[in-house]
Amino acid sequence: MFFRKRKQRVDNSQISTEHLSKSLQENIRIFKESLFHGDEAIVYREFRTAAPKPRDCIIICAENMVTHQYISEFVLRPMMVRSISSKSKNESLIRYIMENVIQTDRIEEQGDLMTLADAVYNGASIILVNGCNKAIVVEAEGWETRSISEPKSEQVIRGPRQGFVEELAINLTLVRRKLKSTSFKVKNLQVGTESKTRVAVIYLEDVVQEGLVQNVIDKIKGIQIDGILDSGYIEELIKDSPNNPLPTIGNTERPDVVAARILEGRVAVLVDGTPFALTMPYLFMEAFQANEDYFSHWIPGSFHRSLRYICFAITTITPALYLSLGSYDPQLLPTKLVLAMAASRKLVPFPALIEVLAMGLVFEILREGGLRLPQPVGEAMSIVGAIVLGDAAVRANLVSAPMIVVVAITAVSGFVIPDLYDTAVIARLTLVLMASLFGIYGMLLGIMGMVLLLASMHSFGVPYLSSLASFGAQNMKDTAIRAPWWSMRLRPQFIGSKNRKRLNNKDKGNQS
């Protein structure tokens, strides 16, 4: 495939002209011998319009990328059964056919060869007419797509069950159905010299901050890459602090999440071929927000939000705390606990640091293994790993029982904040190393460094900790807790400052 692309690029350079000629045979030759040379998946359907003055025509399309029945019924059939006016020539003839013969909605004329070739690869059909140096592009894409289903990585108990699919047009529709405002805007871009991936930048014009959309568009336009196969490519190529593993661009498979973020003043980027949409700016506290918080009552929603912060602290700090307290400051532990820990470690041959690192590594191996395997096998492997291996390791005195508890609680807590899972692993390892060198002091120093790093970060010009650090009453309402909807009257200060008001009710909803 890659060789074919390379060959094609060489052939393209041999094209003497950039535009169609009036000779149909010459145009067919260019397409067959230069643009689509060697591509057997391109369909060339030559036909002739009806008498008394028949004209030679051709339809060119990519096989299985168009709705063939649609083309036959609404393009081929009208052109073949209907007589084309002999008085019209060239562009006026093309316009005549577009206005009077072809019965489809998305249709345009085009004369640029490369644009026509791109159109074919994007699923359009092009119609060339003898004597015309313009072609008609009929957009009648049609290929098999995955049906809309609930995303497995973002399942909810209560809330919409729709998830994005790999088709950009469908994804755009899913978002537009939630935001029917005239303020909702879409900017189409194309990225990738070879993949020519379609990218849509979507936002609410009345809410989004000045300059943000242009900033995003400029950054995407600046990408010079051969192909974009997933939104992750774009995320990494346009994010602030590219070497920092902390996410500064959000991603989601859910249209409701994209709509909610756009409503707050963010910009979303949809990429053709992937169900993952990008949203920006992305703040640290967004990792702790889940769409279900907003669908359930605000008290359980706030409880779950707080739980995520606690779990993040647990998954990041617990191994380092275990190590520093056990190895440097056992006097801070309750006497009975320290005795139990000492007894459990009595026959373990490794130092506590090796124990912590080895168990962390084993867990990550099990997780990675379970993740890539088919679901039933993966589940079985998780059970083997978690129960059998853990129990056997303790019985064989390879690790102490408290260490298994530490690893288990660390792992379970990590799964509560999936957006920060990878970051938490790195933070955890850093803190463990700091704690192994300097005890509690080292751990606290590491935490301090991490807070400083977070405080210094930006996402598209917005401070990464802005909502948490600003201490404004309105900003804090959607951070550690999820305040009731009737009290969240304003959009986040740093994101939706152009039009902050989002709730007009002065009372608590429609209470009587």
Partner: protein, 382 residues
């Protein structure tokens, strides 16, 4: 760059002074539960009760081991103790510190100085004096439920809220008291009592100190009254012979509340101490006495007897305390210093003489607030 360099230097300097360099593996430590000093002259005899785990992992059990060594100082004895144990001893989990009567009478400061200033032992460790036994004998006694005597003593201190018959002191409280003017330190005393074939440690009585020298004991009853004056005894039970229905019957009372206040009054040039005690009591056990507990006259009569009995007991305790020269565990001198600084300065040098003859007014108001669920004694018919 300059900021980064400053930050790095600052962090390195801070780290170098944290004292967090002593990495240790838990399994290589032996945890000291209790420490004691039996003698300081000619050599320090240091006793430690150490927790030893028998078995490992889920099958682990814990046993206490008592080790004793001698040395020219407490710290050198500690090193000797570690050599004896052949394990690194970990001191911060020690819960009790005990000195023998011999050490208490010769001054406890040499025994505790290293521990007060050092970081090895927590300042919240409970401090006791052994009575009628040595520290080694105490640590080798057989607690009924706990694996160690130290834990047994720590449990007794925790029960103190329910049975306040002694005045618990942590190491920091003792050292703070001996460094103050106008008040003398006290320590609870520990003794061994027979329980079947074994001896069990109990906390009974109080040791009275003049600076860091022990000068006298208070017995169990005296300690209770001492706790009452100090305002500690908010609950607890006591039995008192009470005249009802023409005969002395041992009635049992439960203390429900105690508001005790000690103060110094100046009447002209005369210094006078005042003890005001207000007690709320429940009459909880009358044995076989045939009395009507709903009779208000009877209750008033019993309350009057309680007032008189408590006043008498307090007076007896004060006489005993004032008999020890220069010893002021109630803290009359401190009260004078706090409230009448000029008078304290004038009388500071003669305070021991003034204290011996200090006139103390005692006001006790005992109130019976409850007499149980039924108002009458249990009827028995023949």
């Amino acid at each position: 760059m300059k900021k980064f360099a400053s930050f790095t230097v600052l962090m390195l300097i801070t780290m170098a002074f944290t004292g967090c360099w002593d990495y240790k593996e838990l399994e290589l430590l032996d945890f000291v539960y209790g420490v004691g000093v039996d003698s300081i002259d000619p050599e320090f005899t240091l006793i430690a009760e150490i927790m030893k785990s028998v078995g490992a992992g889920q099958d682990a059990d814990f046993q206490s081991v008592v080790l004793s060594t001698k040395g020219r100082s407490v710290s050198s004895s500690g090193i000797a103790l570690q050599n004896l144990a052949a394990m690194a001893l970990f001191w911060p989990h020690a819960q009790v510190f005990v000195v023998s009567e011999e050490v208490a009478r010769s001054g406890v400061l040499p025994a505790i100085e290293f521990l007060i200033r050092g970081a090895d032992l927590r300042s919240s460790v409970y401090f006791f004096v052994c009575r009628d036994c040595t520290v080694e004998e105490l640590f080798q006694s057989a607690p009924v439920f706990e694996a160690s005597v130290s834990q047994h003593l720590a449990n007794l201190v925790r029960l103190h809220e329910d049975t306040p018959i002694f005045f618990p002191q942590q190491m920091w409280e003792f050292t703070r008291t001996i460094s103050k003017q106008g008040i003398s330190a006290t320590l609870p005393t520990v003794k061994l009592v027979q329980n079947g074939d074994d001896e069990v440690a109990v906390i009974r009585g109080t040791a009275i100190f003049n600076t860091d020298y022990m000068v006298d004991w208070l017995n169990e009853e005296e300690s209770e009254i001492f706790c009452l004056i100090k305002g500690l005894k908010h609950r607890g039970r006591f039995v008192m012979d009470t005249l009802v229905d023409g005969q002395d019957i041992p009635l049992t009372y439960e203390i429900r509340g105690n508001q005790a206040k000690t103060k110094i009054d100046l009447i002209g040039q005369q210094i006078k101490g005042v003890i005001d005690i207000s007690l709320q009591l429940d009459l909880i056990e009358i044995q076989n006495a045939k009395i009507d507990l709903l009779d208000p006259q009877l209750i008033l009569f019993v309350e009057a007897q309680l007032n008189a009995a408590f006043t008498r007991r307090i007076r007896e305790l004060l006489v005993k305390l004032q008999g020890n020269k220069n010893c002021d565990p109630i803290g009359w001198g401190q009260l004078l210093k706090q409230n009448h600084k000029e008078v304290w300065r004038e009388n500071m040098s003669d305070w021991c003489c003034i204290l011996a003859d200090l006139d103390v007014e005692i006001n006790v108001e005992a109130k019976i607030t409850s007499t149980g669920v039924t108002g009458k004694s249990t009827p028995v018919r023949y």
